[in-house]
Symmetry: C2
Subunit: 210 residues, 2 copies
């Protein structure tokens, strides 16, 4: 509410901003998360932020830059970061993916924010002129698949998976399940249903539960 969080040191010269940039960005995250990039207009954004278009453009550049910042903020938030945290914190590969699926089930269906994952659903339908936005999120998703595979290869090297496990395909499988959980959440599935889906998905773990 008070004071911008970007007060690194001294206040920059010129007239100070009259709105909270981070709060406005959080509003943008919400709207983009809910409807997606193109379906959220600058008019809706400025109305929800309580500012005029020129202020938005002065603070964020243009709509694409605002979206990219929104994706970054989302990725640093708990709901956007839980995958990376689980991959880093869990001792075993199975433990990591079990946690990812179970947390995805809970987080994607959490009614306190839009359903599903912003990175999965915010730029599915775009016109040609915003193809770079779609490509940006696709790269984010495919980077997630790559991080899955990296963790699975580590687990295989540690003897947690059969030596002949196709880690690339298994990573793609878990990515598909996570994206499917996001889609099901957006279609109305609740946390309980998704939690049970997660348990079915984990039953596919090669060589039985580790």
């Amino acid at each position: 509410m008070t004071g911008g969080t970007t007060e690194g040191k001294t206040r920059p010269r010129g007239r100070p901003r009259t709105f909270d940039r981070d709060a406005a960005l959080a509003v943008a995250v919400r709207l983009f998360w809910e409807r997606g990039y193109e379906a959220t207009s600058v008019g809706e954004l400025t109305a929800a932020m309580g500012i005029r278009p020129a202020s938005l453009y002065a603070a964020f550049g243009d709509k694409k830059s605002l979206f990219r910042e929104a994706v970054e903020v989302y990725g640093r938030s708990p709901v956007g970061a839980f995958v990376g945290v689980a991959l880093a914190e869990e001792a075993t590969a199975y433990g990591a993916f079990a946690r990812i699926l179970r947390e995805a089930a809970r987080v994607y269906a959490d009614p306190s924010h839009p359903a599903g994952c912003l990175a999965n659903s915010a730029a599915t339908n775009v016109t040609e002129q915003d193809a770079e936005i779609a490509a940006f999120l696709r790269d984010v998703r495919n980077a997630g698949v790559a991080s899955f595979e990296e963790r699975l290869r580590q687990g295989r090297a540690a003897g947690e998976l059969p030596k002949d496990t196709d880690t690339a395909a298994l990573a793609s499988y878990f990515a598909a399940v996570v994206q499917g959980l996001s889609q099901r959440a957006r279609d109305g599935a609740d946390a309980q249903e998704l939690a049970r889906v997660a348990e079915f998905a984990l039953a596919a773990w090669p060589g039985g539960r580790d």
Copy 2:
């Protein structure tokens, strides 16, 4: 190429249409499949169909009606109907879902048409004024989940699944996997990768492969 396919009996009165309605509809299916509902403009549609806007509106009503017709056509095409066909034709529940996943892997990554499933990806991002279109496709998807569950309950009754199997959750699981396959295909995964994903997904079948 020649002759409208809608020639039920006598030609209707008035000046005959100069373009092939079904061919134009097939073009619309392609565009909506590729980019989605709102990201495909009437201008792009008419340009690709080779007709003027007034002809499109005379033949199809409005953009929403055209989209709904396109979804119907897609649903009757092999790539849109394979799920229902597999559910009806396969003798066992496991056989049905194995076929569904394997065909989804092949069909969603088939480079001869847009990747993934139109029903999964064509109305993810819509403005408020097209909320009914998003709801329409969501209903289509959830009806698919219901048909999955119906088939699983049949299988459970036939002793193909443990008596305590949570068929609703298992149906949601397979739906999530199918939707995940669609998403992965749109992100560039090829048929070989998706086929391996399908095999991992099938390993989750309760009580082992039937």
